[in-house]
Symmetry: C2
Subunit: 167 residues, 2 copies
């Protein structure tokens, strides 16, 4: 069994979308994926892709992926690596694909001079928590992420204007 990690290119958009959908199903949100292959391909071809992606292969076949981008820490004054998704297909587990992806993310963080690697984990996903803990990941227990989306975001997008200068 040969496990290998490579950088994804725009030609992998279909493979990436497949993993996104598989992960959404695993996260018990099978209908949450609105992304389409053509958009992912276009974003990756744009020259300023909003993300980068690694593909793990076992014996030459795609087994998992890690999709990430760079965030910024105002405390450290430098970029960090944020893993949006990391996933190995259940039937391809046990071949070291997850660890290989994670180590490659570490290498990239080193090359880019990142001060930290971060990612969000579902609280019930104990196997993921155990996996990340082996790499020294620590939960930011004091913090909760808040999100504005849907109609609330539409309201905020159009709320600016006359109120910007206040007497």
């Amino acid at each position: 069994m040969k496990t290998k990690v490579r950088k994804a290119t725009a030609g992998d958009a279909g493979i990436i979308l497949g993993f996104i959908k598989e992960l959404a199903q695993y996260e018990r949100e099978p209908d949450a994926v609105e992304a389409v292959e053509a958009d992912i391909r276009k974003q990756m071809e744009s020259g300023h892709s909003p993300f980068e992606c690694l593909i793990a292969e076992v014996d030459g076949a795609p087994a998992g992926f890690a999709l990430y981008f760079f965030n910024y820490s105002t405390w450290k004054g430098k970029a960090g690596l944020y893993i949006e998704d990391i996933f190995v297909s259940p039937q391809k587990r046990g071949c070291g694909a997850g660890s290989a992806l994670f180590r490659e993310l570490g290498t990239i963080a080193g090359e880019k001079g990142c001060g930290r690697i971060e990612f969000a984990v579902l609280d019930w996903n104990q196997s993921a928590i155990d996996f990340y803990s082996r790499f020294g990941a620590r939960p930011l227990d004091e913090w909760t992420v808040y999100r504005i989306s849907g109609p609330a975001l539409d309201d905020l997008k159009t709320a600016s204007g006359s109120e910007k200068d206040r007497g």
Copy 2:
């Protein structure tokens, strides 16, 4: 009292660092800031700044800031706006600076076609939670952010190599 929001430029690096330090103090981590003004200026001048920043002014004097970057949602297949820091100096509150910053972030999210705005809030910061809730922000209660930094990150940065290809 006139409240105004403007885009920050590299010349604002000192003002930005001042707010970063004030916010760290407010978050009870006064010694956490390693960022230095020269690095922030250099990053903003680089042409590919890892962040963007807004400054709120009350009667022409800096009153607060919002520092943000763009992340990516694999479910939506599009970018999101992530607010790393949003802060108004305690003595400048009540002039609408926070709301003006937030509305401007909404406008930018609209211009960039973002599918969501996100930010992390300290669990004890009830006044912030109340503020964000007025804009329709909802906590992602099921998720916890994990971080790898310090020696654990150093280990991971150098863990790659011979193990990448596994027999």
